[in-house]
């Protein structure tokens, strides 16, 4: 719009050519964004207004019936609760492990650079591979976790890690934390390295101990990066699918069935593409709230 307006005002052919060049240069980005974000978004909203049979993608207009059905079902609300439990639980552990590990790696420990690379391993390993390994560790017949617990006399019988509640939720939360805490480590470690050493020395002289220095110097300096990390990870954990799906498939009895799993189930298990789209749109609304907080903060921080 701005370009068009400036084209009107100026008859300078050189400037017009530059404006055209500008449009050409941003066109690929705009087209790609439209193809991968705008089209699916509109398409999802569109689909949610139909009753659609997935294999044929044919169906009839139902208006807001899908929304009435979804928001009226207990399945949606319990899945929302499960999603919140999973997100809050795994995020909490990610932050605690992540900050603790970043603090450790910021010290002058032996093999620091090796440790720094190793800690990224869970983040880079494929989810499928990671989950298969964890399922193997969790297995109640030959899994090493139960085996070790029995060896040390903590339990007498193998623990059913994934087939019982609350074990299944705890396991999913824990594996999620293991998989994603390196992201927190990277972000926090980068920030830790920019905290001036003299602040710690001043605090030491002022009489602050280890905890005083952490709470009065480190934590306030980490506040901004932690806010961003928490917002991003909340969004990402909220929509996490493959890790949970592969680990428990939503079981036992839907106890770890989060919203993304319902979407999948509706779309490809029950072949109800319209209802699936409705769940997806509902999920998007929840995440939109987080997005708005994120955008608001990001805007406020850049002057």
């Amino acid at each position: 719009m701005t370009i068009a307006a400036s084209q009107h005002r100026t008859q300078n052919p050189l400037e017009r050519r530059y404006a055209l060049l500008g449009v050409l240069l941003i066109a690929p980005t705009v087209l790609i964004l439209c193809a991968v974000i705008v089209y699916p978004l509109i398409s999802a909203i569109y689909l949610s207004l139909f009753s659609i049979y997935t294999p044929t993608l044919k169906g009839s207009w139902v208006g807001l019936d899908n929304y009435v059905q979804v928001f009226g079902s207990s399945g949606f609300w319990s899945a929302l609760g499960t999603t919140v439990t999973w997100t809050v639980g795994t995020l909490f552990l990610q932050i605690v492990f992540g900050v603790a590990m970043a603090l450790l790696l910021n010290q002058n420990i032996l093999f620091r650079s090796l440790a720094r690379s190793l800690v990224l391993f869970p983040y880079f390993v494929s989810t499928v591979v990671a989950v298969l390994i964890w399922r193997w560790l969790f297995n109640d017949l030959y899994g090493i976790l139960s085996h070790l617990l029995i060896q040390f006399g903590v339990v007498d019988m193998p623990v059913d890690w994934l087939g019982k509640m609350p074990n299944a939720m705890a396991s999913v939360i824990f594996v999620g934390a293991w998989k994603f805490f390196p992201f927190v480590v990277i972000a926090v470690l980068a920030r830790l390295q920019t905290i001036p050493e003299q602040l710690y020395e001043a605090a030491t002289i002022d009489g602050a101990g280890v905890f005083g220095r952490f709470f009065d110097v480190t934590l306030p300096q980490l506040k901004d990066v932690l806010t961003i990390v928490i917002l991003l990870r909340t969004i990402w954990d909220f929509k996490e699918f493959d890790l949970i799906y592969l680990l428990t498939g939503g079981g036992p009895v839907n106890n770890t069935r989060t919203l993304p799993l319902i979407v999948y189930q509706q779309a490809f298990g029950l072949n109800q593409m319209g209802v699936a789209a409705t769940y997806a749109v509902a999920m998007m609304l929840v995440m939109l709230a987080f997005m708005l907080i994120y955008l608001y903060r990001a805007r406020r921080q850049s002057p």
């Binding site: 001043a202 605090a203 030491t204 002289i205 002022d206 602050a208 009065d216 300096q221």
Partner: protein, 372 residues
């Protein structure tokens, strides 16, 4: 009021020896500057005193107490850092109150103490600001406030003025002198700026390569440098340093500098050399007289600075730096008469660099300073 003593203190960082062995006794209530070029170990010395660095050997005492094994917070010291090190998320008030809070001063007593410190440093209107909303000079004063609020026994300051512009620095120098006079506390001040050291200190410890070169009052340092390093380091522009020889002639020492030959006062040296002695002499720019005298000098360069000019001249193969009044008319290339104030010539052993001048009352035109 408390003394500070370094007793054979050594500090090595791995294979690097920063301080080979330091003996320094600071009297109660003194303002001592550690002065020397960058990397000479000033900060290391101060940090050992603060407890931020552990000496490799030797003993550090504050008062009668050996502090080697005491944590920084147990030493009853306060430190002002070059970067100020203010806590960025705390207001000025919280910054100043922080050491009180951490030392368990009752909450009810803190506001009055913070207010007293703020009043002393004119920080009253700034108390609710954050450090980033302050100018460099204001941040500096907050750092001072945080240091003095809990009335430590010793103040440590590491180049606290070096991040300020020249004008503000001059202002803060005066404020620090005033602060020292009012508090009467022992202060140890690290600087590489001789002007700061000369104007503020009761005594200056000149350091080089981790070794203490001279520890004396500013006037003494200026008028009686203990060795060639101090002679060359103190004074702007620097003294003229030149190698020469001294031989006795009918009971009077005669100095040969290149082709110049001049007779020194008979009591100029602490001992009379047998035969010829190889020496290094140092002459202050203001101890060289232009316009009279038996030596001929060739003017190489005139640098007018306003009220005075710095003139570089050659006389008898020696290049001298001369300070003359700003209205002196001189041109490069001119040949002029030149003389030296013989009684003010500093003589050092060329091998050891040690001062050879006899102690004479006349040579120490020193104003004894005490603000306590």
């Amino acid at each position: 009021m408390v003394t500070v003593t370094f007793d054979k203190v050594r500090k090595a960082f791995g294979a690097t020896v920063a301080i080979p062995g330091l003996d320094l006794a600071i009297a109660s209530g003194e303002f001592v500057s550690l002065l020397g070029p960058s990397g000479c170990g000033k900060t290391t010395t101060l940090r050992m005193l603060a407890g931020l660095e552990q000496p490799t050997a030797g003993e550090i005492r504050i008062g009668e107490r050996t502090v080697n094994n005491l944590a920084p917070s147990e030493r009853d010291i306060a430190m002002v850092f070059q970067s100020y090190a203010l806590y960025p998320h705390m207001s000025v008030r919280e910054n100043i109150a922080y050491p009180l809070k951490k030392r368990g001063v009752p909450k009810a007593d803190r506001p009055a103490m913070v207010q007293a410190a703020a009043d002393l440093l004119q920080l009253g209107p700034l108390l609710d600001r954050k450090p980033r909303q302050l100018s460099g000079g204001q941040q500096q004063r907050v750092a001072l406030g945080r240091a003095l609020v809990r009335e430590p026994k010793v103040f440590l300051l590491d180049e606290p003025l070096s991040n300020l512009d020249a004008k503000l620095r001059a202002h803060m120098r005066a404020e620090l002198i005033e602060l020292h006079r009012r508090l009467g506390k022992t202060m140890v001040y690290v600087t590489h700026d001789q002007l700061e050291a000369m104007t503020m200190s009761t005594r200056i410890a000149v350091m080089q390569g981790g070794v203490l070169q001279q520890f004396a009052m500013p006037g003494e340092i200026y008028h009686r440098p203990a060795n060639t390093f101090v002679a060359g380091f103190i004074g702007t522009p620097s003294m003229t340093l030149a190698d020469g020889e001294i031989a006795m002639d009918q009971g009077r020492p005669v100095l040969k500098l290149g082709t110049l030959s001049l007779e020194l006062p008979s009591d100029h040296l602490s001992d009379r050399p047998d035969g010829t002695r190889r020496v290094t002499v140092a002459v202050r720019p203001e101890d060289i007289i232009i316009g009279t005298g038996s030596f001929r000098a060739n003017v190489r360069l005139v640098e007018p600075t306003g009220h005075e000019s710095i003139v570089l001249v050659n006389a008898g193969d020696v290049g001298f730096t001369v300070r003359v009044a700003g209205d002196t008319v001189l041109k490069a290339g001119e040949t002029i008469p030149l003389d030296l104030r013989r009684e003010r010539i500093h003589v050092f052993d060329r091998e050891t660099g040690r001062r050879l001048n006899a102690d004479r009352a006349a040579a120490t035109a020193d104003s004894v300073r005490s603000r306590a």
